[in-house]
Each structure stands twice: as structure tokens, then as C-alpha cells.
């Protein structure tokens, strides 16, 4: 018998639900030939909390704190999507100052979330030190949130009709300080990671997502922009005051893990630009519109779309004129990215699974809702 004809069995490896690199409770059923991935079947839902059902039993104001818990790394963008939909339904005008404050909160959240991405991505590739550096910088943002909203992660500070409170004294100075500090720190990450030969070997050309495939599978955010598609809801369908702000839609034609990583790194710099503009041009005025305590939006439907750090975060609300939504649907980017993952993974190695999974930056709470 020739060795070449010896039948070999494929191995099914359960990566997760408890695994250091699945960023929570995700299970990937990998079919392996040695180290090579032949197939991948993601099993999700371990963190399903029935958010959409909960919403049907809460008033609009009451559901807001729940939205923070969907994508817990950038709670403000969840708030924003929900609030946008409600405001469109009920026809609420938000004061301009509140709009600027919302953008500040959203962009700080974006930086915080992207820093966690850099951290976990580096950690997945065993560059543990970059993990701690990114968290160190993120801690400054957390302190800013704490100072303004009183909470670190789940701020619930974007409210229907405005924001929870005006900026406290000294916030603007500290925010400016942070903006000045972040740039040089990002340059340090470039020295530690972006240019590093091993990091490049692990990410360049790995996990290629062609742009057509990305659009087909409804990928969005940095995952799609890392494939060269300039689709950013802040520009495509501007909300709040993004129209007035100068920033670039970052794209990278590489389509690989490195491309997605570089997009996020550059987006942090763009977010700093946005925050500085907002702080400089902050108008005076109210931060909260008059909203009836028992909000009853007219019957109808509205879709709020927000560019969250992970991509298109949508909130589709159908109202029957009551105090709680008839149906509330949360369109979360990670869910769609996860669906596309098996297409990207095939043929790569176990080590690459971690890199590719890290590079699409999933949040399980958001995927499972």
C-alpha cells in the first residue's frame, strides 16, 4: 500500500466557547487537515439576552440603558442608533450643543473601541505589551467618561432629545490633553506593531476579503473599508453635525488583516481631529430638548443608522402609537461579519484564524444581542 493513499481523517476542533481568543463566548467548529482550515461553522447565541423582546416591554426611555449593553465597547453608538430612530419617529429636534456633545461622546467611544481592537488584536498575535499600552491610553478616555457621565462603559448619556448633562468644568482641557497625547502614542504603536516584521508577516495577505464579497455579505465599517470600499455612514448618511466636520473616510486597498488594522489606526487619528473640531466650535445653549415624560411616537416606522466602531449599527423601530415599541430590531455589524467569516477562513491555518477573527473585531454582546 502506498502511503499517498492512506486515508487520513479530518479533525473537528471546537474553538470556544471558552477560548482565550474568541473575545467572549463564541464557538467556531473548525474542520482541520493538520493545521489547515477546511471549514468553519460559527455557533453563536451564547450571549443572547433577547434585547429585541425586552424592548417590546419597556417604554422608549426605559429601553435606552439596555442599548448600552448591546455593544459594550462603544455604548454611545448604540444609544445613538436607538435615539436617532426614536427622534425620527417622534419628530424631536435636538439642540445644536447636544449634537456636538453627542459627536464628542461618539468619537471618544470610537477611539476607546479601536484601542481595545488594537489591544486584543496584538494580544491574539502574542504581542502582549501592546495590549497593555492600548489599555493604558483607553483608561484616559474612561476617566473622561467617568468625569462627564459618571460611568465608564455603559454611559447611557445620549438621551432621547439630547444628552444627559452638559460638560463638567475642566473636561475640555482634559479632552484636549488626551487628543494631544494620543497621536504620539499611536506612533509608538506603529513602531511596536505596524512596522514590525513579524506582525507584518502575520497580517499582510492574510484573510483577504475582496470588496465584492464584503458588500455581498453586508460587511460594513472598518472591515469593509479595509477592503477599499469608502462606505462610512458618517459621510453617506450624515447624522448629528458630522456634515459640518472635516474628516477623511479612511480606506485601505489591502483587503487583508493589515488593511483592516491600518484603517482603524488611522480612524483614531481622524476621530481626534473630529473631537478637537467639536471642542473648538462648541456652541452655547441647551443640551436637552423638551421630551414628554411618557413618549408616544405616532404610528409608523423609522430606521436609525449609525457608523459604530464596528460598522453599520441599525435600529429599526415600528411604533403603533403606544408608549413602547411594537417591534424593535437591532441590526448589528458583528452578526453580518461573523456570517462572512467562514468564507474568509478557508485554507488558512489555526494561527490565522485568530488573526482574522481579531481583525474583524467582533463583540459577542452585539452579535447575539
Amino acid at each position: 500500500m502506498s502511503i499517498g493513499l492512506t486515508p487520513t481523517e479530518h479533525v473537528v476542533l471546537n474553538m470556544g466557547p471558552q477560548h482565550p481568543s474568541t473575545h467572549g463566548v463564541l464557538r467556531l467548529k473548525l474542520t482541520l487537515d493538520g493545521e489547515v482550515i477546511l471549514g468553519c461553522d460559527p455557533v453563536i447565541g451564547y450571549l443572547h439576552r433577547g434585547m429585541e423582546k425586552i424592548a417590546e416591554n419597556r417604554t422608549y426611555a426605559q429601553f435606552l440603558p439596555y442599548t448600552d449593553r448591546i455593544d459594550y465597547l462603544s455604548s454611545a453608538s448604540n444609544n445613538e442608533a436607538f435615539v436617532l430612530a426614536v427622534e425620527r419617529l417622534a419628530g424631536i429636534e435636538v439642540p445644536e450643543r447636544a449634537q456636538y456633545l453627542r459627536v464628542i461622546l461618539l468619537e471618544l467611544n470610537r477611539i476607546a473601541s479601536h484601542l481595545v481592537f488594537v489591544a486584543t488584536f496584538a494580544n491574539d498575535l502574542a504581542a502582549t505589551t501592546a495590549f497593555l499600552y492600548a489599555f493604558r491610553e483607553r483608561e484616559v478616555i474612561m476617566d473622561l467618561f467617568e468625569m462627564w457621565t459618571g460611568a465608564r462603559l455603559t454611559q447611557s448619556w445620549i438621551r432621547i432629545g439630547g444628552v444627559g448633562s452638559d460638560l463638567p468644568d475642566g473636561f475640555e482641557r482634559k479632552a484636549h490633553e488626551f487628543c494631544r497625547m494620543l497621536g504620539p502614542r499611536l506612533d509608538e504603536y506603529d513602531g511596536l506593531l505596524t512596522g514590525n516584521a513579524i506582525f507584518r508577516l502575520r497580517t499582510e495577505g492574510v484573510g483577504v476579503l475582496p470588496p465584492e464579497l464584503g458588500i455581498d455579505w453586508a460587511c460594513s465599517g472598518p472591515t469593509l473599508r479595509g477592503s477599499g470600499v469608502a462606505f462610512d455612514l458618517r459621510r453617506a448618511e450624515p447624522y448629528e453635525v458630522y456634515e459640518k466636520l472635516g474628516f477623511e473616510v479612511v480606506t485601505d486597498a489591502a483587503c487583508d488583516c493589515m488593511g483592516r488594522y491600518r484603517v482603524r489606526m488611522e480612524e483614531m487619528r481622524q476621530s481626534v481631529r473630529i473631537i478637537e473640531q467639536c471642542l473648538d466650535h462648541l456652541p452655547q445653549g441647551e443640551v436637552q430638548a423638551k421630551v414628554p415624560r411618557a413618549l408616544r411616537p405616532p404610528a409608523g416606522e423609522a430606521y436609525g443608522r449609525v457608523e459604530s466602531p464596528r460598522g453599520e449599527f441599525g435600529c429599526y423601530i415600528v411604533s403603533d402609537g403606544g408608549t413602547s415599541p411594537l417591534r424593535l430590531r437591532l441590526r448589528t455589524p458583528s452578526f453580518f461579519h461573523m456570517a462572512a467569516l467562514p468564507q474568509i477562513l478557508r485554507g488558512w491555518k489555526i494561527g490565522d484564524v485568530i488573526a482574522i477573527l481579531g481583525s474583524i473585531d467582533i463583540v459577542l454582546g452585539e452579535m447575539d444581542r
Binding site: D216, A218, A339
Partner: protein, 143 residues
């Protein structure tokens, strides 16, 4: 694309069509669903932003949201489906991104998508009884 274009293309299968802001809201009969999705995709509405269902207690509709990334316009197709044991043709053949959202609608509303390659529960466990997002669903009993 205007409501008239779609009415001209699909005739009586279009129950209603109106333009609201950047959204073109379309109520469609199931028979034209796949054809309409293909028609829209060929005209640039290739980004399947979302697929979900709405149960009002009286009727249930599955809602497809297709977006044109170039023009920033939405087409929202809603298709009526019976509240129990309903089924629709799957659009996975046209829009690959419909794979998981259709599974989710099946999981939470019980709508069967005929022609879906892998119609399993996705968020809930395989042995879950019932479809929780139906208005008639009873709360699961906690331990």
C-alpha cells in the same frame, strides 16, 4: 429608482409603493420577492443591510432592506407571511448576506425560507420550543 419603475416591472405583485425620505417602501407579494431582489441588486441596491420580520399581532411581514452604497438610497421590501407555519422563498441565491438574517428570522419568528441552504436555529438552542418574537409567545419559564 422610483416606485413607478417597480410597479411597471412587477405589476400587480406590488401592493403599495411610496418614497419616504431616502427610503422606497414597497409592499410586495411573495411571488415576486426573489425577482424583485435580483432586479434591485442589478440596479445597484446590492448591499443587504438587513432582513427582519415584524409581528403586529394581527399580521406578520418580513422586511428586506437593500441599500445602494453609491446613491445612499434604501429599498425596503416588506412581504406578508402567515403568522404560523408561514414560508417564503429564500433570497440567499441572490443576496449572499441574507444567509444568517434569514436563519435569525426563522429562529425568532418561525418563518421557513424555502431554498435556504442551511436553515437552522442560530441564536437559540436547537431544542428550543416556540418562536419568541411572536406576539403570542409566552415568556420562557425561568428556573
Amino acid at each position: 429608482m422610483t416606485p413607478e419603475d417597480l410597479k411597471a416591472q412587477f405589476g400587480d405583485d406590488v401592493e403599495a409603493a411610496e418614497q419616504v425620505g431616502r427610503e422606497l417602501r414597497l409592499r410586495l407579494r411573495p411571488a415576486s420577492l426573489v425577482a424583485c431582489c435580483r432586479f434591485c441588486k442589478e440596479r445597484g441596491y446590492s448591499y443587504p443591510a438587513d432582513i427582519t420580520a415584524v409581528d403586529t399581532g394581527a399580521e406578520m411581514r418580513v422586511v428586506y432592506r437593500l441599500v445602494s452604497l453609491q446613491r445612499g438610497e434604501h429599498i425596503v421590501i416588506s412581504v406578508g407571511v402567515p403568522r404560523t407555519g408561514g414560508s417564503l422563498p429564500s433570497v440567499v441565491g441572490v443576496l449572499k448576506g441574507a444567509d444568517w438574517p434569514e436563519r435569525e428570522v426563522f429562529d425568532l419568528f418561525g418563518v421557513r425560507f424555502v431554498g435556504h441552504p442551511d436553515l437552522r436555529r442560530i441564536l437559540l438552542t436547537d431544542d428550543w420550543q416556540g418562536y419568541p418574537l411572536l406576539k403570542t409567545a409566552q415568556p420562557a419559564k425561568g428556573s
